[in-house]
């Protein structure tokens, strides 16, 4: 069940430092939304504020509204743990749990929450998630081996399998390919194209070709200078952003004229 996310007037702080200012955007269900922009402009910060991972950092806080299909994610009666169950996340560096096998990593979301599951159900979920992450054929013979023994690209797909195993509505990905080789990157891009039928996907990427290849909409973040807050400069269909952007800054960034 993919869901729509509406963000209005979002300000994101680290302590007193305003990192991202005034974001208004509507993220469509069953689509891939790419976020691009120079380093330090707040893409990760914005992404983490969508599933309330931002507030895990001491002193970090958020002002404004994030609404997912009518549910206010920052409402006073909303539990951040529930939000994270509905909005999964894949990180820049693959981070499988080192103490767990591949199998246990995939069902970590259920196991860690002590959900009771029959063995057959668990087996089924593991296979489904690994197939969903295009990893099943590579690891089906060594499900009981540690996840940290896989290659970087396989580890990242394991993390994706782990994220989709809890069946979230939205999947956030923060530069999921930046630590991977081109072949693994392609594998993950193919995977995203498949996953977008079931999930709302938001991906941060530094790779403009990647954004152009996979996404339906693209948001461009920028900041005026060091110490200034980052802003969402432009949000448009990907085709428009890459052919005929509204903003001069977007065009400069995309054509490599920045800094």
């Amino acid at each position: 069940m993919a869901k729509r996310i509406e963000v209005s007037d979002l300000n994101i702080y680290y302590g007193n430092f305003l990192a991202v200012e005034g974001v208004n955007v509507s993220i469509e269900p069953r689509s891939i939304t790419a976020l691009i922009g120079p380093s330090g402009c707040g893409k990760s910060t914005f992404l983490r504020s969508l599933n309330r991972m931002h507030e895990v950092i001491p002193g970090a806080r958020v002002e404004g509204k994030v609404v997912m299909d009518g549910q206010d994610l920052y409402g006073s009666d909303t539990d951040p743990v529930d939000v994270r169950r509905q909005i999964g996340m894949v990180f820049q560096r693959p981070n499988p749990f080192p103490t767990m096998s591949i199998y246990d990593n995939v069902i970590a979301g259920n196991r860690l929450n002590s959900k009771k599951m029959k063995k057959s159900e668990a087996d089924d979920l593991v296979e489904r998630s690994l197939r969903g992450a295009n990893l099943w054929n590579e690891v089906k013979d060594r499900l009981d081996r540690p996840g940290s023994g896989l290659s970087g690209g396989q580890q990242q797909r394991l993390c994706i399998a782990r994220a989709i195993a809890v069946e979230p509505d939205v999947l956030l990905m923060d530069e999921p390919c930046s630590a991977l080789d081109p072949i693994s990157t392609l594998a993950i891009e193919d995977l995203m194209a498949e996953l977008k039928d079931r999930f709302t996907i938001v991906i941060v990427t530094h790779n403009m070709q990647q954004a152009a290849r996979v996404s339906t909409s693209t948001g461009f973040f920028n900041l005026n200078g060091v110490g200034q807050p980052g802003r969402l400069i432009e949000f448009n269909p990907t085709e428009k952003i890459f052919s005929n952007p509204d903003q001069k800054a977007t065009e400069d960034y995309i054509s490599g004229r920045f800094g």
């Binding site: 994270r84 990180f91 981070n95 929450n113 023994g149």
Partner: protein
């Protein structure tokens, strides 16, 4: 055998500029020889002024290092000579540091092996006034009291460390860290007197219980456990916590099911070393647990025997058969050293066995 591989580097007087000049080197054992010669000279020197070990070592170390430096300087040049001088100094420092250790192990083995027999491990001192007897009661007493101390300190210490790393912030965290630091420096006799005063307040004068000793040892052990567990928990990468949160796992489950299992090797090692740290404490047990000659394994009922206190009394209050008492004291010391060594080995095994597996 091909000849090329054996051909020695030829030393030319005027090497072609730009190429790496083969350096003249001291023959293989020449430096060592020079060093030994220097030490021999030092021994001779100290013999002239009336032989003494200390002077031999001092003169020897200085002359040995000097001989190596001069020899190397003449043959190999300044940079290599400095290298050899520093090597000589570092090696000497290491050797000097090893002297007390080797001497201690040798002495304890030499004197302790006399009574390292079956009787020592199967008899208590009940109705023994001269030869014979053993430390059966003291060994078990030490095990019981140390285990009890661990049962008290590990939960407190571990939970404190978890609080400090995972939950604490601001003033309370700083205050706890400060008090843990202060506790680390508490002299062991003070810990003993604390337990003594505490139990005297509750149970009246002249109370002696095994559990008092365990409490005293806990006071010494808790800060060590907190410190080592804290360091280990800090090593758990934040990415793993975030990975867990992102799956919708609450914080406490993340701590219990992700952080602790990842750190378990280090935690086990730290706790075992903390046990090793207190197992030989004498002073706090002397004032809280006392000593008996028979076997008492109930820490809630009167005095108990422990190895350190046993050794202490054997040494300081020998009866008429002085040698038998001395022998038993040394053997008790030997057993204590073995116990600590075993604990250290266990700590290593724990860290080896439970370390997260990364292999394919």
């Amino acid at each position: 055998m091909s000849t090329e591989t054996q051909s020695p580097v030829r030393v030319t007087k005027e090497p072609p500029s730009g190429s790496i000049r083969p350096r003249r080197r001291l023959p293989r054992f020449a430096a060592l020889g020079l060093y030994v010669a220097g030490i021999a000279l030092g021994a001779l020197l100290s013999a002239l002024t009336g032989f003494s070990i200390a002077l031999t070592v001092i003169y020897g170390a200085i002359l040995g290092a000097l001989a190596v430096y001069v020899g190397s300087r003449v043959v190999e040049g300044r940079r290599k000579a400095t290298d050899r001088l520093v090597t000589a100094l570092v090696t000497t420092a290491f050797a000097v540091a090893m002297v007390p250790l080797v001497s201690l192990v040798y002495t304890v083995l030499d004197k302790g092996l006399a009574r390292f027999d079956g009787a020592f491990f199967s008899n208590s001192m009940f109705r023994v006034v001269g030869e014979g007897g053993g430390a059966y009661h003291a060994i078990l007493g030490t095990v019981v009291i140390t285990a009890l101390a661990a049962v008290i300190s590990v939960p407190i210490g571990l939970l404190t460390a978890i609080y400090l790393v995972e939950y604490g912030s601001g003033r309370l965290k700083r205050a706890i860290t400060f008090f843990v630091d202060v506790m680390t420096g508490i002299p062991s006799i003070v810990a003993g007197l604390f337990a003594f005063a505490l139990f005297t307040l509750v149970f009246g004068n002249d109370v002696r219980l095994g559990v008092m000793g365990a409490v005293a040892l806990s006071v010494l052990m808790i800060p060590v456990v907190v410190r080592s567990c804290e360091e280990v928990l800090k090593l758990v990468p934040n990415e793993l916590r975030e990975a867990s949160y992102a799956l919708g796992v609450p914080k406490w489950r993340t701590v219990v099911k992700v952080v602790l299992p990842t750190a378990v090797a280090g935690l086990g090692t730290g706790i075992t070393l903390a046990v090793a740290r207190v197992v030989g404490e004498t002073a706090p047990l002397l004032v809280t647990v006392g000593l008996i000659t028979g076997t008492n394994l109930n820490p809630f009922d009167g005095r108990m025997a422990t190895l350190p206190v046993f050794a202490f009394y054997q040494l300081t209050q020998p009866g008429t058969a002085t040698q038998a008492f001395l022998d038993r004291a040394w053997t008790a010391a030997l057993v204590l050293i073995i116990l600590v060594m075993v604990l250290n080995v266990v700590a290593r095994l724990i860290s080896r066995l439970f370390a997260p597996k990364t292999g394919r």
